[in-house]
Amino acid sequence: MSVELLLAAALVSGTPILFAALGELLSERAGVLNLGVEGTMLIGAVSGFAAANAAASVWPGVFAALAAGALFGLAFAVLVVSLRLNQIVTGLAFTILGTGLSAFIGKPLIGVPPNATVPKLDLGRLADLPFLGPVLFRQDALVYAAIALTALIAFYIRRTRPGLILRALGESPDVVDALGLPVAALRYLYVMAGSALAGLGGAYLSLAFTPAWIENMTAGRGWIAIALVIFATWRPWWVLAGALLFGTVDALRFRMQVGGDPIVDPHFLNMLPYLATLVVLALVSRKVLRQRLGVPAALGTAYDREHR
C-alpha cells in the first residue's frame, strides 16, 4: 500500500473517532464527563443502519443516528445533571446499556446487506491532483463534514460569546449561574449535542466504514475518543490531529493484518493511543500546566447552587 492510500485510509479510520471525540469535547467543556461514548456510538450505528436500510437512503440514517444519540444523551443528562448521579458510574452504565440495547435491537439486522451507503463526493478535477487527489479529494461527504465541524467548534469555543459561556460552564459554573444563565439547561444542551455526534460517529461505521451492522462494531473506538480528548487537551484542532494519528495507527494495523510480515505486532500498535494518553495525563497533572492548557476545572462535578 502506497503512502497516499495509507493516508487516505487514515482519514477514513479517523472520522468516526473524530465525530465522537468532538462530541465528548463539547460535553467535557461543559463540565460533564460522559463515559458512555462507546455505548452511544453503538446506538447511533444500529439506528443509523436500520433507518438508512428502511428508507433505502443514507441521509435518513444519518439523521436517525444523530437523533438516537441525542436521545441517549438526554437520558444521561436527566440522571447526571438533574438527579446529580455520579457521572463516572452513570457513564459506564450507559456504555453497558448501549452495548446491550444495540445488540438486542440489532439482532434482525445482522447479515443484512446495506442498501444505502455514504456516497463519495465528486470534486471534479481536484481528485486528479497528484498525491493530494487520492488523499484529500476522493473522500465521502461525512469526512469533509467532520473536518468542517472541527473548524466550526474551534471557532465557536474561541471566538463567540456562547463559546465563552461554554468554557465557563466547565470551569466555574457558579459564574454562569451568577450571570443569570441556566446552568442545567446549557449542560443538557451540550451533553445532547455531544451524544448526537457520538451517534453520528457510530453511524459512520455502519454506513460508510464497514458498512453493515455488526454487534459491538465500535470495538473500543468510544474509549479511544475519550482518550483523544485528553490527548488533545480539550482543543478541537488537536482532536483532529490526534484522530488522524490514531486513524493512521488503525490503517497501519489493518494493512499489517492483510499484508503479513509485520515489523511491529499490531497489538502493540493498538496500545499506542492509550499509552500516548497516559503520557499526556501525566503532563496535565501539573497544576500550572493544567491551568495554562485550560483543563475544565469543574469536570465531573454536578452543579448544585446550594453547595457553592
Binding site: V89, L97, H267, K287
Partner: protein
C-alpha cells in the same frame, strides 16, 4: 419551571435506602419486560428462562456463585479504594494482568509440586501482578496528582491487548493453535471444587468481604483511608500520609482484582485466553455502587449480576437475544441509583406565576 427538586435536609436512612433500591430494581425488571415485549418476544417466558438459568437449579446456582467470585472480588477492591475517595475504574485490566502472571507461574512451575503450594503460588502471583498494575496508576497519582479515573481506564486496554498478544503470540498453545489460548497450567495449580460445584474462590470472596468490613470497623489503616477520603485536610493534620493511603488503597484494590484473574485461570479456564473476562471488572463498578459499598450488599449484588450473565445462556436457548441481560445490568443499576437519588429531593410543584427560590 413548574416542577422543582428541593434537597432534603437529611440523608435517607438505611431502611429507606434499601426500600428505594428494591423499588428501583423492580421498576428495572418491568422496564426490561416491556422492552422484551415490544420486540415481539414472550416477556414472562423470557424472565422465567432468565431465572431458571441463573438460580433455577443447584447446578445453575453453583455456576452463578462461581461467576460472582471475580465480580465480587473486583467490587470489594473498588469499594475499598473508594473509602479513600479513590476511583479504580481499571479492575478489568488488573484482572487480566493478574491472570497473565498467574498463568506465567502456572506454566513455569516444576513437576510434582504439592497442590497447596502450587495454588498458593498462582494466586499470590495474580494478586501481586494486579497490585503492580494498579501501582502504575497509584504512583503517579500519589506523586504527581495524575487523575486515577482516566489512568486506570487507559491501563485496562493496555493489559487486555497484552494478554491478546500473548495468547496468539509467544504463549499460543501449539495444540489449539486456532483458538487464542495458552497451554494449560500445571494440574497441581488448579483450584478445585469446594461443595456442590462451587469452587474454592468463594472462600476468598468471603475473606475480602471481611477485610472490607474490618476497614470500616476496627482496622486503624481502614480508619486512615476513610479520613483521607472524607476529610483530606484533617487527615494531613492528623499525620496520615496521603501518599501511603493512595498507594495502599489503590494497590490493594488492584491485588483483589488480580486475585480474581488468577482464580479465573486456576479454577475456571485452566489457561490464559482472549476474552477471559466478559467485563467482570466493569460490572464490579456497577455492583459496588448498587450495594453502596456495603460488603454484604456487594456479595448479593455480585450474585445478582453473575446470575444475569448465566441467565443469558438460558435465554439464548429460548430464542431470545441474550443481550437483554446486558441491558438489565445497566438498567438495574440506573433505576436503583435514580430511586435513591430521588430520595434526596422533594418534588415540589410551583405555580408558574409563583416566585421560586
Amino acid at each position: 419551571m413548574p416542577l422543582r427538586l428541593e434537597p432534603r435536609l437529611s440523608d435517607p436512612s438505611t431502611a429507606e435506602w434499601a426500600a428505594r433500591t428494591a423499588i428501583g430494581l423492580l421498576l428495572a425488571l418491568l422496564l426490561a419486560a416491556l422492552v422484551i415485549a415490544l420486540a415481539g418476544y414472550d416477556a414472562p417466558a423470557a424472565l422465567a428462562a432468565l431465572w431458571r438459568g441463573a438460580f433455577g437449579s443447584p447446578r445453575a446456582l453453583a455456576a452463578t456463585v462461581n461467576k460472582a467470585v471475580p465480580i465480587g472480588l473486583c467490587a470489594m477492591g473498588i469499594a475499598l479504594a473508594y473509602r479513600a475517595r479513590l476511583w479504580n475504574i481499571g479492575a478489568e485490566g488488573q484482572l487480566y494482568f493478574g491472570a497473565f502472571a498467574a498463568t506465567g507461574v502456572g506454566l513455569a512451575m516444576p513437576q510434582g509440586m504439592p497442590a497447596a503450594l502450587a495454588i498458593a503460588a498462582v494466586l499470590l502471583a495474580g494478586a501481586m501482578a494486579g497490585a503492580a498494575w494498579a501501582a502504575l496508576a497509584a504512583l503517579p497519582r500519589a506523586y504527581l496528582g495524575m487523575n486515577e479515573i482516566l489512568s486506570t481506564l487507559m491501563l485496562t486496554y493496555v493489559a487486555i491487548l497484552w494478554v491478546d498478544y500473548l495468547v496468539v503470540g509467544p504463549w499460543a498453545d501449539p495444540l489449539t493453535y486456532s483458538f487464542p489460548y495458552s497451554p494449560p497450567i500445571a494440574a497441581a495449580a488448579r483450584l478445585g471444587q469446594l461443595v456442590g460445584g462451587m469452587h474454592g474462590g468463594v472462600l476468598l470472596l468471603a475473606a475480602a468481604a471481611l477485610l472490607l468490613q474490618a476497614v470500616d470497623r476496627g482496622l486503624r489503616w481502614g480508619y486512615e483511608l476513610r479520613v483521607a477520603g472524607d476529610a483530606p485536610g484533617a487527615a494531613l493534620y492528623g499525620g496520615i500520609s496521603p501518599v501511603r493511603t493512595i498507594l495502599t488503597g489503590l494497590m490493594l484494590a488492584g491485588a483483589l482484582a488480580g486475585l480474581a484473574g488468577a482464580i479465573e485461570v486456576s479454577a475456571s479456564t485452566g489457561r490464559l485466553q482472549a476474552g477471559l473476562s466478559p467485563g467482570y471488572g466493569f460490572m464490579a463498578i456497577l455492583v459496588a455502587w448498587l450495594a453502596a459499598g456495603n460488603p454484604l450488599g456487594i456479595v448479593l449484588a455480585a450474585v445478582l449480576y453473575a446470575g444475569l450473565q448465566n441467565g443469558g445462556f438460558a435465554l439464548q436457548v429460548a430464542g431470545i437475544p441474550p443481550a437483554i441481560t446486558v441491558v438489565l445490568q445497566a438498567v438495574l443499576l440506573l433505576a436503583a441509583l435514580a430511586a435513591v437519588g430521588l430520595g434526596r429531593y422533594r418534588v415540589k410543584l410551583f405555580r408558574r406565576s409563583g416566585v421560586a427560590g
